[in-house]
């Protein structure tokens, strides 16, 4: 068993890089483990662990030792027309109990009747401070405090003092966003958009970075988060449009008459596809990064399920890969923040492009 594993180690190591093979090895591992011990197969499901890691939840779950969960329960805020507003701690329904007619089903809050049966007629609006919300708020408080401190230094020091401390870290980033994102894409009007571009950049960046801390939630890898940012971007783009932009969509210049009718829906769709692409890009990148890191960690337990020796043996390799991906993720945290900001600036720039450069379309 061990020798077989050692022989297949390099092959496995490479196949790990191809994520598509992940499911195969997981399935393989499960098969083996079911053959050996039935109990382990029941308790260990890598796909479920990964999904739990990247999904939103009502608690910060760190570990389960035996039957005991080490987790910070978060407040649940639900509203329904029938029952009104209800606020309580998730800790009260954590273990599947019913509290005030609410119950947690697979982490989702549902309304139940007196008998404990799910009431389908009650439409619940869940405004809970989930771990994504809580983490995002904490990250934003951190961001605001940091930035206000930096701003205070600027106000106190004025233009004649060289930046010091954290200010020195932030200043190149701000000037980068201004000189590499704002100015080239927005031209003379860049100053008007700088607060938005800087906010969106640091908003994404701080959530990306905080999300990389082990045990934290995957805020930027959540479709809701990116959806909000993309919608805001769409609104900013739409408010920046000029006559020339709409003219371009509803009467594309330089094409035959009939082609115009094909192009109009395409161009119109493009207006919405651009922010949608922003949404998917950030979401997919962050989710993928988190999945890869979780996978590498879980490989130890997958092999551990096969045999303890394999698990321990693979641990160093797994850690090595995890560290490698972690570094890449730190890079990705910055790159994705930059790409989102830059593309938003590009789209705004396109929306307010004047009629002067008709030459290149």
């Amino acid at each position: 068993m061990l020798s077989k594993f050692v022989k297949s180690l390099p092959i496995l190591a490479f196949s790990i890089l191809l994520l598509s093979l992940m499911s195969i090895s997981v399935a393989h591992a499960e098969e083996k483990s079911t053959a050996e011990t039935d109990e382990k197969a029941k308790t260990f499901d890598p796909a479920k662990v990964i999904m739990e890691h990247i999904m939103d939840a009502h608690e910060f779950h760190f570990a389960t030792i035996g039957d005991h969960n080490i987790a910070i329960p978060l407040p649940v805020i639900v509203y329904s027309k029938e029952r009104g507003l209800a606020v309580f701690s998730f800790g009260k329904i954590e273990e599947g109990e019913t509290y005030n007619g609410y119950k947690s089903e697979e982490g989702k809050i549902v309304a139940v009747d007196a008998a404990g049966k799910v009431e389908e007629s009650v439409t619940l609006y869940d405004f809970s401070l989930t771990r994504n919300v809580v983490q995002m708020l904490l990250a934003l408080i951190l961001l605001v405090v940091l930035m206000l401190n930096v701003a205070k230094k600027y106000i106190a020091g004025g233009a004649k003092t060289a930046p010091s401390g954290f200010q020195g870290w932030v200043e190149p980033v701000i000037t980068f966003v201004r000189d590499e994102v704002g100015k080239p894409n927005l031209g003379k009007k860049y100053e008007k958009y700088m607060p938005y571009l800087l906010t969106i950049f640091f908003f994404i960046l701080i959530n990306n970075i905080i999300g990389l801390i082990p045990g934290t939630a995957n805020v930027t890898g959540n479709i809701t988060f990116t959806l909000v940012l993309a919608v805001i971007s769409l609104l900013v783009i739409l408010f920046s449009t000029n006559f020339h932009f709409w003219m371009h969509i509803f009467w594309p210049p330089g094409v035959p008459f009939l082609v115009k009718f094909i192009l109009i829906p395409v161009e119109l769709l493009g207006v919405f596809i651009k922010p949608a692409a922003l949404m998917i890009r950030l979401f997919a990148n962050m989710v993928a990064g988190h999945i890869v890191i979780t996978c590498f960690i879980l490989l130890i337990f997958i092999f551990g399920a096969m045999s303890h020796v394999a698990g321990w043996g693979f641990a160093p390799v797994s850690i090595l890969f995890t560290v490698f991906i972690y570094f890449i993720e730190v890079l990705v945290a910055f790159i994705q923040a930059f790409i989102f900001t830059n593309l938003t600036a590009v789209f705004i720039g396109q929306a307010m492009e004047g009629a002067h450069d008709d030459a290149h379309h």
Partner: protein, 164 residues
């Protein structure tokens, strides 16, 4: 798939959080930071521009100074030359004057000598006249006894008179 379903709660909270953070940062962070950065950059640009300007001005001033110096040198040369000419002229004039004076003095002296000579001659002539008259008187007084002797005597007198 649940992963792709937006959650209402998170959506509302994210939107709210973004708007609040945007407002706070825009008003209290980005505004002063960007303003200060801009001020600093324009300050640096101005400083460089003014340094460049001063450099040009300095160069100009140097050129001007050199021109002034050159002019001063030329002026000095002309002044020296003029002074030399003046002094030469003055010396020449003085010489001429001295020579004229000398000539004049010489002429005066000669004139005086001539005058004195003439006076002396006149006196001599007068004296000779007187002498002649005296001699004639004496001769006449000797009564003209000897004709030959008389002639000799007259000759003698005349001779002596001619010597003067």
């Amino acid at each position: 798939m649940e992963l792709l379903q937006p959650g209402l709660g998170l959506l509302v909270w994210t939107l709210l959080a973004f708007l609040i953070v945007f407002y706070i940062l825009k008003k209290f962070a980005w505004k002063p930071i960007l303003a200060t950065l801009k001020e600093r950059e324009t300050g640096i640009a101005d400083a460089i521009a003014s340094a460049e300007k001063i450099k040009i001005e300095m160069a100009q001033m140097k050129n001007e100074n050199e021109a002034i110096l050159q002019k001063a040198r030329e002026e000095r040369a002309t002044v020296l030359k003029e002074a030399k000419e003046q002094s030469d002229k003055m010396i020449g004039e003085a010489k001429d004057k001295a020579k004229a004076e000398y000539d004049k003095i010489l002429a005066d002296a000669q004139l005086a000598i001539q005058q004195q000579k003439n006076e002396a001659l006149t006196e001599v002539k007068n004296q000779v006249g007187t002498l002649v008259i005296e001699v004639a008187t004496q001769v006449l007084r000797r009564e003209l006894a000897n004709k030959a002797e008389q002639e000799t005597f007259i000759e003698q007198v005349v001779k002596s008179a001619k010597l003067n």
